[in-house]
Amino acid sequence: MSSSQQRNRREALVSWLLKLSALLSIATTVAIITVLAMESYGFFADVPLSDYLFGTDWSPLIEPASFGVLPLVCGTLMIVIGAALIALPIGLGSAIYLGEYAGPRQRNIIKPVLEVLAGIPTVVYGYLALTLITPALREILGTDNVGVFNAASGAIVVGIMILPMVTSLCDDAIRAVPAGIRHGAHALGATRLEVSTTIVVPSALSGIVASFVLALSRAIGETMAVTLAAGATPSMSFDPLQSIQTMTAYMVQVALGDAPVGTVEYNTIYAVGALLFVITLGMNLIATRVLRRFREVYE
């Protein structure tokens, strides 16, 4: 056996190495912020911040270039709203069913299905939007009314994509509600609907709201599905059946395009990326806040 001095030295070394690994996560955050700040600094030297944030025309690759980011934000917003309309009600409904109605056998079918849905890569959802959802929409609403690329089909697949996340987070929140208060309500003669809507959902509200915010933040950052399905036309039309462009889709377009590194055209992706990072980080912080501040604590 090694001497105690050797042992102590080894212990100190190991502890130092482990701490170093943990600090890498801080370094990652610092690196993200540094890269986004440094590279978009170059962009904002050429384009005033107010023109960028409040401009309504986004055409950085065409002369005369214009750098108003609002059309991209609008495109992203349409996807998020559409996805929310699908995923939030279905996700919450499923979670209520899982928590209040489903027996263990049904849970054993539904939970793995949700896990598989959550594990499908986003590029696959993009493929499905293009080859399954868009043709179906064009069939139903008419080929003339629906573009080959359209916001609706992107929103639908993004909705399906965030559905498992909403369901499982709401399910966690609902399961955390103690059975005792449910039994109390049942004993007073409430139906299951009344127990769900007046007891369970209000008690789990902080978790439910947090899950909504997290899922929508995920929808904002979603890239491949909307790049493939929703098109590359920055627009403020709010017409879900026509082509739009999201912030993420624009970033992919430039990354795959031939804008030379270091030009204003190329640096736009850092400005857009910085905005995306700030929005999603803000939403994630809000979700954590909601969970901590408004959690109902049961003894």
Binding site: I32, V35, T223
Partner: protein, 292 residues
């Protein structure tokens, strides 16, 4: 309608009918997820299965759809994910050990924890920009396997850390106290007792994280990963393409035949992901059976 209105509706029949309608509604919402999955998988398999054969797996990409295959993409994915595993597992598990076994409650450690959970919520495309800027441009790694693996490692590190911490936390503290009582040092306790006990849980989390990184497209696209690569990588500095990238490229083409090729690629990708998940489930199941 306020709570009291709902509770004091004297018409019991109406209330029960409403409850029955609600039950059908939430049941319908739930099973719609199952139906959606079935429809989507059926569509992919119907379109793609005809293309998946030996020739598809062993050919390089081609503008001639009949001759196109995923050899380079499959090899690229194996190289990148393999290297990602080599980088992210040691660092991730080490971070988890530090946070669970070593860290005392301090401001710095609290900051690390909050930071990790926030990193888990950063969109993958932002990691792509980080990789494109730091690894590809500043460190001159180019569009190499190494640059791709480093980027994906940063992306899945928070997932691995969070899963590993849960596995380590689940190890009963009596195990640690027994080791300490016998005079073991902290590292002897961790490496000899805690880690072996936590391995199944860590492994499950790691496999799920790696399968997630295998499907990630946006980070690699942001790095400018290539589409037409007619060779397989022979080292970590070689350029590469990957399965999700070739699927994206084929899906993005207007011709129907390339959409079918994309479906073929998806069938292969999903098969690999399914196999990895099955392994994870198997490990979880076995460890649950063995532990008391």
């Amino acid at each position: 309608m306020t709570t009291s209105d709902l509770m004091f509706d004297s018409n019991l029949g109406k209330r029960q009918r409403r409850a029955a309608r609600f039950r059908r509604l939430v049941a319908g919402a739930t099973w719609s997820g199952v139906v959606l999955l079935a429809v989507m998988l059926f569509h992919i398999v119907k379109e793609g299965i005809g293309w998946v054969d030996w020739q598809f797996l062993t050919s390089f990409p081609s503008i001639d759809a009949e001759k196109a295959g995923i050899k380079a993409a499959l090899a690229g994915t194996i190289w990148v994910i393999g290297l990602t595993a080599c980088i992210s597992i040691p660092v991730g598990v080490a971070s988890a050990i530090y946070l669970e076994e070593y860290a005392k409650p301090s401001r710095l450690n609290r900051l690390i924890e909050v930071n990790i959970s926030n990193l888990a919520g950063v969109p993958s495309i932002v990691y792509g920009m980080l990789g494109a800027t730091i690894f590809v441009r500043w460190l001159h790694l180019g569009q190499s396997v190494l640059a791709g693996a480093l980027t994906l490692s940063l992306l899945i590190l928070p997932v691995i850390i969070i899963a590993s911490r849960e596995a380590i936390r689940a190890v009963p503290s009596s195990l640690r106290q027994a080791a300490f009582a016998l005079g073991a040092t902290r590292w002897q306790t961790v490496s000899g007792h805690v880690l072996p006990a936590a391995t199944p849980g860590i492994l499950t989390g790691v496999i799920l994280a790696l399968s997630r990184s295998m499907g990630e497209t946006a980070p690699l696209v942001m790095m400018g990963a290539l589409t037409y690569v007619a060779y397989t990588p022979t080292g970590i500095t070689d350029e590469f393409t990957a399965l999700p990238i070739i699927i994206y490229n084929w899906s993005d083409r207007p011709q129907q035949v390339f959409h079918e090729l994309a479906a073929g690629g998806i069938v292969v990708l999903l098969a690999v992901l399914l196999a990895m998940n099955a392994i994870a489930v198997f490990i979880r199941h076995r460890s649950q059976r063995n532990s008391p």
